[in-house]
């Protein structure tokens, strides 16, 4: 029967798409669980690191590291953490929108901007959007290692040390829950000292070997750990966003199939009705 051949082809092609999106949804769900675990594993280090740095900022260090000193802002740097792959809804789009908004507020004050990009999506976006890109890291995979990120971070820290940038921001998605991911812009440098009420009296660490060397290393690790945590968190966000996007794609495909099925059935029914009425009227004409 020739009726609705096109519709049938269309339905089967949408069914294939639906199979793919639902498989991707399930893959994303299982990857998200792992990404969330990874995020949780990194938390204790980031927390301890933050508290150590907080202690340093509150202590009376014999030596003031430049990461702690405020400077006049002439140029700012951004480390932007994005995903490597697409098909994750508005995750990267929202992030870039928030970044551009923050960048624009600096640009309006006549401040120049340097970018360090993590993830292929950021590289693609800022490559075409324009911007002063000094470093890029791609293909970090699902289980990123700190070693993969050192380059992108060090470029920015060097720029800070050389006075090429006076402030450094970290942009990434924050994992609120499976349904919500928030793009956040956070200041990395100069360090924002945390208020600490329990240790107000004058004290300082014993430093081994000496404060300068030690703080240099420690603060670099601190920044790296913050960036690593942002990357891991962004990974969890990516999987969550992909899971949602694929779920809604699967649902939409289902709706579409239902609609097409209805149209197909109607067409078939009307063809049958027409055939019947032709036979009946033919028989009546003969009889």
């Amino acid at each position: 029967m020739a009726v609705g051949k096109e519709i049938r082809t269309k339905i089967s092609s949408i069914q294939n798409t639906q199979k793919i999106t639902s498989a991707m949804e399930m893959v994303a769900a299982s990857k998200m669980r792992k990404a969330q675990e990874r995020m949780a594993l990194g938390k204790p280090y980031a927390r301890r690191m933050r508290s150590v740095v907080g202690h340093i900022a509150n202590a009376a260090p014999e030596y003031q590291h430049m990461y702690m000193q405020e400077r006049d802002v002439k140029r700012v740097g951004y480390i932007i953490v994005s995903s490597d792959r697409g098909l994750c809804g508005g995750l990267n789009g929202n992030l870039f929108k928030a970044t551009i908004k923050s960048m624009k507020s600096w640009a309006d004050q006549g401040v120049e901007i340097e970018l360090s990009l993590i993830g292929a999506k950021a590289a693609a976006f800022f490559g075409s959007y324009g911007g002063n890109v000094t470093a890029a890291v791609r293909d970090i995979g699902e289980a990123p290692a700190i070693a993969d990120l050192i380059g992108a971070v060090k470029t920015m820290l060097d720029a800070y040390a050389d006075g090429k940038i006076d402030r450094l921001f970290l942009v990434g998605n924050q994992f609120v829950n499976t349904m919500t991911q928030d793009p956040t812009v956070e200041q990395l440098l100069p360090l924002v000292a945390e208020e600490n009420s329990e240790m107000k009296h004058h004290w300082d660490y014993l430093y081994e070997p000496d404060a300068k060397e030690l703080l240099e290393g420690l603060l670099t690790r601190y920044i790296e750990s913050q960036v690593y945590q942002a990357v891991v968190e962004n990974g969890a966000c990516e999987q969550a966003a992909r899971m949602l996007a694929m779920k809604s794609a699967t649902d939409n495909a289902g709706d579409m199939i239902d609609d097409l099925q209805l149209i197909y059935n109607k067409a078939r029914q009307s063809a049958i009705t027409q055939e019947l009425s032709e036979i009946v009227s033919g028989a009546a004409a003969i009889g």
């Binding site: 301890r48 791609r138 290692a145 070693a147 050192i150 470029t155 660490y205 081994e208």
Partner: protein, 142 residues
Amino acid sequence: MAMTIHCDIVSAEEEIFSGLVEMLVANGELGELGVGYGHAPLLTSLVPGAVRVITQGGEEEIFYVSGGFLEVQPGVVSILADTALRAQDMDEAAAEEARKEAEDALTNQSGEFDYGRASARLAEAAAQLATLRKLKNRAGRG
């Protein structure tokens, strides 16, 4: 019973140890050091090697760290362990690589022998061996 101090050993990628210890022995930049209850606030960097903790009740545990930092606060000692292999010129190389990636002009460098990387690997391998030896000795004794 001996006085105890809370000890956390964490790396960026996972939490390694957390609990009360009587004593912690680590390889600081300036030599091996032990930390017990009431130690003065201290901040030191660590070299690759074994970290020994004597937990409450006298049991000994050994961990391996490839560098990092040790912080002593009243009542708390934390080790922030590195997971990545580090050396000054390796960081430089990583930064250089990121810069190149940004310029999209990756040239083939695999043929060059990277002395910094190799010597850092060697130092770490030696420290790992030393840790293993310590563990073995302990197993032999016990």
